[in-house]
């Protein structure tokens, strides 16, 4: 069965709202069907790229996504805008510039924004 390209956007700070934790939980859930899932951490959710930010639940979701080989990317501009130290972003999290994000979104068959 052909995999469907699905992009999940996490956009909100993990410390103010549960939206980003739910974005990651849904991203894991989406792998239960033939979906090729990509998670993009945008705006203040870029902080999720740093291990430990947001607490144990979020870290558990990120670890699971890594085990499932789901691509997790962080918006390059957001890292700069929100003062996220790039050196603390682990290598398995891809840093994407605006052109690459645009390409990823254009190629997606479904985009789910949190």
């Amino acid at each position: 069965m052909a995999k469907k390209k699905v992009v999940v956007l996490a956009r909100r700070s993990p410390t103010n709202t549960r939206h980003s934790a739910e974005a990651l939980r849904q991203s894991i859930g989406l792998t239960l069907a033939p979906n090729d899932v990509t998670v993009i951490l945008m705006d203040s959710a870029a902080w999720l790229a740093v291990p430990g930010v947001g607490g144990d639940e979020i870290q558990k979701h990120l670890d699971t996504l890594k085990l499932l080989k789901v691509t997790v990317a962080a918006e390059e501009d957001a890292l700069a805008r929100y003062g996220v130290p790039r050196e603390e972003v682990p290598p398995h999290i891809v840093i994407l510039g605006p052109e690459k994000i645009g390409e990823t979104l254009a190629a997606a068959e479904a985009v789910i924004a949190f």
Binding site: K4, V6, R18, H19, E22, R25, Q26, I28, G29, L30, T31, L32, A33, P34, N35, A110, V111, I112, A113, F114
Partner: protein, 112 residues
């Protein structure tokens, strides 16, 4: 399927529409979701609605859509967290349901 009229050829294609509703009672999104679903049904499209987050509070409002043929499912975990009891097993679901709904849909709309 196409049909001709005097001015144009009209293309009709039955589509599968997936709608996710995550906002609660303070937002008006549920009304928009209802109107979109009803319009889609009139056009003979298939509609599936998944309630997540605060969207689970709306399952009572959307039950009549279920009677009209819309697949209405909600995330049981979010319902449990909010002490929302669907009282109807047909509405209980999980991210597994949404994964398949998304995979099968021609279009996905999210209200969050």
């Amino acid at each position: 399927m196409t049909e001709d009229n005097d001015d144009a050829i009209i293309y009709r294609e039955e589509m599968k529409l997936a709608i996710e509703l995550m906002t609660g009672v303070g937002a008006e999104d549920v009304h928009t979701v209802k109107r979109i679903a009803e319009a889609a049904l009139r056009q003979q499209h298939e509609v599936a609605i998944f309630l997540m987050g605060d969207g689970v509070y709306h399952f009572h409002r959307l039950k009549d859509l279920a009677h009209k043929g819309v697949r209405v499912t909600m995330c049981t975990q979010n319902a449990y967290e909010r002490k929302v009891d669907p009282g109807d097993d047909a509405l209980s679901g999980s991210q597994y349901d949404w994964a398949h709904i998304v995979h099968d849909a021609d279009r996905v709309i999210v209200f969050g």
